[in-house]
Symmetry: C2
Subunit: 350 residues, 2 copies
């Protein structure tokens, strides 16, 4: 009697409070009058059960509210068939990739686990969490970590980096030809008569070194090296605000600004409009990403569109590919961007 109570208490401590024991395959098997093995077969969509039995088992499972236990499956299978995705919840561009990643992974028979970095949670921690969940593939969206760390990940999992080049590594990279996007932007502006074209860069944010270099190269190509002006920034609205304020504090504005991304561009426009600097009358602005907001009629931002669907699809396919076939070599896949000309660029002001 006393023993019973002790046991009951111990159980109460272990089980999540207030929940009934979760049904297992064994329960389903008993109810359907078959072996556990057969239930397992059925839930894995493998042959070996008659249609009749299959239906009976599925019905039994349904009645019990049975739900497969991924942890147990993972353990037993020895592999998880899971892709871990690192993202920054505040980068809307990354959010655009998530939908496609889910769809593509599901089609390939893989699970997806999301792990977000945030001010309170650094990237490192977010990645470790994914590894701890036995993710076989890691898809890192615009990771900020140093290249060396990312390289070391490669022998713990198949790693795919999106939106950032990472030369000399065993990781796949999928990214936009940032140089081309920037070149198109500069060409477009020069075509409109601009010569004083400044660039607010993205600091260490993914893609920005490439964009910065491309800006310099493009300016050189147009013999505008004298007009080069790089303002240090980041891929945030705040950075755009700061850059705009820097420019306004000077006696002379450039006639066009290439922002590091759309968020930065929006910050810039924000300040300029407030200061009655007309966009594009007084100054033209080009963004990067073609985010949701860029398309809004008021913002109507000329920007460089990245093929989010293509990026996401290839990221998943590379990860899955290398998981299924170890002989595959990691590759660096580059997708062409497309300049979306909208209302924030116009003829230079003189």
């Amino acid at each position: 009697m006393l023993d019973d109570r002790a046991t009951a208490h111990a159980d109460a401590e272990r089980a999540p409070a207030g929940l009934h024991r979760r049904p297992t395959m064994a329960d389903v098997a008993t109810r359907a009058g078959v072996s556990r093995t057969l239930v397992s077969l059925i839930f894995s969509n493998k042959p070996g059960a008659s249609d009749e039995t299959r239906d009976r088992v599925l019905q039994a499972a349904d009645e019990l509210g049975y739900r497969l236990d991924r942890a147990a499956r993972m353990l037993a299978r020895g592999r998880s068939r899971t892709l871990g995705v690192l993202m920054d919840v505040h980068q809307t561009f990354q959010a655009d990739l998530i939908g496609t990643i889910y769809a593509e992974a599901e089609a390939a028979g893989y699970e997806v686990l999301l792990s977000a970095s945030a001010p309170t949670r650094d990237e490192h921690k977010a990645i470790e969490a994914l590894l701890s969940h036995r993710c076989e593939g890691l898809i890192l969206l615009g990771p900020l970590s140093e290249a060396d760390y990312l390289r070391t990940l490669a022998d713990r999992a198949v790693v795919t980096v999106v939106g950032r080049a990472l030369p000399h590594t065993a990781v796949d990279t999928v990214r936009t030809a940032d140089a081309k996007g920037i070149r198109q932007s500069v060409d477009h502006l020069v075509g409109l008569g601009h010569r004083e074209i400044a660039h607010v860069d993205g600091g260490a944010d993914p893609g920005s070194p490439e964009r910065r270099r491309a800006y310099l190269a493009a300016m050189r190509r147009h013999d505008l090296s004298d007009h080069v002006r790089v303002i240090p920034g980041q891929h945030t609205e705040e950075a755009g605000v700061a850059a705009a304020n820097t420019l306004l504090a000077e006696d002379h504005l450039p006639t066009a600004v290439l922002a590091g991304n759309d968020r930065c561009a929006i910050g810039l426009m924000d300040v300029f409009t407030r200061a009655h600097v007309d966009v594009p009358g007084d100054i033209s602005i080009v963004g990067y990403d073609d985010s949701h907001l860029a398309q809004l009629s008021r913002i109507d931002l000329t920007t460089v569109r990245q093929d989010t669907e293509g990026l996401a699809r290839h990221a998943v396919q590379f990860a899955v590919g290398r998981l299924e076939d170890e002989d595959l070599d990691p590759q660096d896949f580059v997708i062409d961007p497309h300049l979306m000309v909208r209302g924030t660029t116009g003829p230079a002001r003189w």
Copy 2:
């Protein structure tokens, strides 16, 4: 010989390609010269190992690159200590909650699993994925599913809904006193002399029925029932754009608009500014959420601030609380909002 090859092949098929076998606790134990049990103790931060041994084990683990296997732990422990979070990656307001949720969960000793709903992946699927990972607690950020379905979840896990009321259920709810926020907005506008105050609602999006009701009530309180105007919308920029176009197509504009949320407000402003309808000179606009963008100087949106940190913190605490103590009753926790008066509201135009 033939057998060997067959086996090797089978192994290659099972293991994720190209990866070495992941070290286990047994490997660590062997290397450190102790039992598996002791290693387990140490990794669970439990007493029973001398400091010396502890160090030795941790070092061995480090050398091997050992990483605890959550799936195995989960299985063995019988519980996961994991909270599953449902979010919509495109709702920036929800992104703001994530950081705090991670921090708070970690403090309580819980893991967090994120599952996103997206156009290609409905909420139902996202929730099932969490359940399948044995999440004990579900934190649903602004779920769109019908109340009945959410109610049924309650006997599979401890459920906490954020940002939406859900009466008569076994789930916790944490939300903002939307009615108060709306009332403050209306009071503010009326104080500025507005009488024709329209409301673009959020359709079925979380919180919007409450906001709509509060709008009607506040208008009544000010004897403005005659001027009530609800324009059906959603919590997206597009909905704001559509609503603005609807209004512009009429011969007479209201003097103020209460948007369903900031995104909607931005859509509205976008169209108005383009149409040379001055904000706030010709029309005042109030948003809801105080999102990142609302604070930008150009947008500078008057809006209702929700206490994101408080919402997130309480959501986690309620979930954890009910997991640790089954006697706790679910509650409906309501946090007061705060009107942030900025530049998009001004005196009525006559």
